[in-house]
């Protein structure tokens, strides 16, 4: 028994319990505390994982992908360490391991599924080297925290080089992620979609990352786009091209629910949003690579409850409310597309904050294609949050009217009482917790 580790684990558990009682929901504090009491707590606990450690990185889809993978493993009867709540910096990762350990400071786990913030991977990998890393995609995100996408790529590449045996499972349709995976020299496999699914993407005004070959600087040529820079591409002036895709989705359909074939199997899920095809593909690839059984895959997809704020549905009396996190242009565009897949009348509330975790720089709002919100099915738009006035202006300059309501709670209440019973709430990061809590409480009231 290691007394130091035991104390660290127990303190972290107590702190986590206390902070939950105080309603902070923050695991970061307990992880910080544990690492302070025993600097090697993370290293020691990670070493106790009996089989494999998976990590998930990438701008969008981390939490959904990681949690879905965890559910797949649990469905097979395995014990899994997972930072389900998405606390993905070093302290959050430490808190997940400490929280999963027993009171003696020992871990009883077959696998670990850990999502890691791109910039934090270099810190985390000092304590353990994962067996697999999923890279979902690389988009522009929270500019003021990381500077630029080049900086994110550099720091993530540095982390990958710290774990040369780690196998990378990468979205091959993303030229940036695919290029990076190849550059590191680590073993890698790709997933992707080789058939054209979405029409009209050629004319989209969407801001695309990675238009240029990272190898030689030439403008990449695309056979077609799925969205953003996702698609089938090659460089006209050097040998860089979309790598071979081992896990290739075909017969893709999406809209009301989505389905596709991969590795000779038909997969189905009742989720919205094209991006979820990639999330599911990533999990399929990871499970296949680790040679785990896939017999219950569809069953788990069917029963999977998304992490809060990811397509989360609330029933409030006769009203349906869908809460979705949208924290960067690529994510927002995908969310808007998902809103418009629903053709019935709806009200929309957009909440924009500019706290440190959101990114203090909100200029990214102007890279989102809000133009498409001038759609007949959208009956009203209310803007809220710290930067409601900016959001209001953003819409004004594409000729869309909105109502400003700084208090999100009253905005939601108002739409529930006078709206069309179908409400979408799109929020960025720090607005999510409050909106979720509020809707959950309201739902409980309706049940009683």
């Amino acid at each position: 028994m290691d007394i130091r580790r035991m104390t660290a684990v127990n303190t972290a558990k107590a702190a986590s319990w206390a902070s939950r009682l105080l309603g902070k929901g923050g695991t970061t504090f307990s992880g910080k505390l544990a690492m302070k009491m025993d600097p090697s707590v993370l290293k020691d606990l990670a070493a106790q994982v009996r089989k494999k450690i998976f990590v998930t990185c990438g701008t969008n889809g981390k939490t959904t992908t990681n949690n879905l993978l965890c559910s797949m493993l649990e469905a097979q009867g395995y014990k899994v360490v997972c930072n389900r709540m998405g606390a993905n910096m070093l302290e959050g990762v430490a808190a997940a391991f400490a929280g999963a350990a027993d009171l003696a400071g020992n871990l009883d786990a077959d696998y670990a599924c850990i999502e890691i913030d791109e910039a934090s991977a270099v810190k985390v990998f000092r304590y353990f080297k994962p067996d697999y890393m999923i890279i979902t995609n690389l988009f522009r995100d929270q500019l003021d925290r990381y500077g630029e996408i080049d900086i994110i790529m550099d720091v993530l590449e540095k982390a990958i080089r710290m774990a040369p045996d780690m196998k990378i499972i990468v979205n091959g349709d993303d030229s940036l992620a695919a290029f990076m995976a190849q550059e590191t020299g680590n073993p890698y496999v790709c997933y992707g979609i080789s058939e054209k699914v979405v029409s009209g993407q050629e004319n989209s005004r969407e801001v695309r990352e990675g238009r240029f070959c990272k190898n030689c600087g030439a403008l990449l040529e695309y056979d077609f786009y799925h969205y953003s820079q996702m698609g089938v591409y090659h460089c006209p002036s050097c040998s860089f091209k979309r790598p071979a895709i081992q896990y290739d989705a075909s017969n893709v359909s999406f809209g009301n629910g989505l389905s596709f074939d991969v590795s000779g199997r038909h997969l189905e899920a009742n989720y919205r949003g094209f991006y979820n095809i990639y999330n599911i593909l990533a999990v399929w690839s990871a499970v296949s690579e680790a040679q785990l059984p896939t017999d219950r895959f569809n069953e788990v997809l069917g029963s999977y409850k998304p992490q809060f704020g990811r397509n989360e549905v609330f029933r409030l009396g006769e009203s349906r409310v869908l809460l979705n996190l949208a924290k960067n242009p690529a994510g927002f565009n995908q969310n808007i597309a998902a809103v418009l897949e629903d053709k019935t009348p709806k009200d929309l509330i957009i909440v924009i904050n500019d706290n440190a975790q959101d990114g203090k720089d909100i200029s990214w709002l102007w890279d989102v294609d809000f133009d498409s919100l001038s759609h007949e099915s959208i009956r009203s738009i209310t803007v809220s949050g710290i930067r409601a006035l900016d959001m209001h202006l953003r819409l004004k300059y594409v000729g869309i009217k909105s109502t400003t309501s700084p208090d999100t709670a009253s905005a939601i209440r108002q739409k529930l009482s006078e709206g069309c019973k179908n409400l979408y709430v799109l929020v960025n990061y720090t607005a999510l917790y409050d909106a979720h809590k509020l809707l959950q409480e309201m739902e409980k009231k309706y049940e009683h």
Binding site: G147, V207, L219, D361, I362, S363, L365
Partner: protein
């Protein structure tokens, strides 16, 4: 009436919501019955300055900026003639740096266009902040967001504003941006123009003046814009005050 807005290399220089600046200029023209057309030039295109009324040069990542700056020299003389003739330019972030003589980084020197007498040196850390500027030529404050590693020095040139909150050109001399003839260079994005309709209208005004000899702009209802601008001013002036009280 119609004017042409030239957007230089949006495929490379589009980092900080430059689309918002374009959108703002177009809409504020349209609301006044002025037709504003946007012409985008890609790298390698021959840029025609003869029918340009407003030129926008945006910001990119260092790598993308490097690609642009090697190609920019071919348009230097035409661009310079346009500026000296009173052509309107709005250059933001990286675009602002490219207006000057050079940008020195540890990896070497990026040659600029030398359109304005200024230069930039890379520094550390990056200067990242909300920004409030004062300039008596404008009826109220200019607000935005800055995020730059470069320290820019403008010599005797007129700044775009004096810094009331934030860092400005270099974090030292209290100046932000530059104004030279009808050129405005600035680190402010966010984007710059929607919350600063007075700046947007000045750009449109100088462009109309040069093209048609009249710059009388019909006033617009700017209540929303002013409210958003005012919010930033009040919030960060308060923050500054609390910090100095401590």
């Amino acid at each position: 009436m119609n004017i042409k807005i030239v957007h230089l290399y949006p495929d490379l220089l589009n980092l900080y919501g430059d689309r918002g600046n374009i959108q703002c200029m177009v809409m504020r023209c349209r609301w006044r019955g002025i037709d504003a057309q946007v012409k985008e030039y890609r790298l390698g295109d021959r840029v025609d300055f003869s029918d340009a009324d407003i030129v926008l040069l945006g910001g990119g990542s260092d790598r993308e900026q490097q690609i642009v700056c090697t190609k920019l020299q071919s348009i230097r003389s035409d661009f310079s003639a346009y500026v000296e003739d009173g052509g309107t330019v709005i250059a933001v972030c990286g675009g602002y740096q490219l207006l000057g003589h050079y940008y020195d980084t540890p990896d070497g020197r990026m040659e600029g266009l030398s359109l304005v007498d200024l230069y930039t040196q890379q520094g550390s850390p990056r200067l990242i902040s909300n920004v409030i500027l004062k300039n008596e030529e404008f009826p109220y404050e200019i607000v935005g967001f800055e995020n730059h590693g470069g320290r820019t020095f403008i010599g005797d040139n007129k700044p775009f504003g004096t810094v009331a909150f934030g860092f400005g050109n270099n974090g030292e001399d209290g100046k932000e941006g530059v104004m030279y003839k009808n050129v405005i260079g600035t680190y402010l994005h966010g984007p710059l123009l929607p919350k600063n309709p007075h700046v947007c209208d000045r750009l449109i005004g100088t462009a109309l003046e040069r093209r048609f000899g009249s710059s009388q702009l019909e006033p617009l209802d700017d209540e929303d814009e002013k409210r958003a601008n005012r919010y930033i001013v009040e919030r960060f002036v308060k923050e500054e005050k609390q910090a100095s009280d401590r």
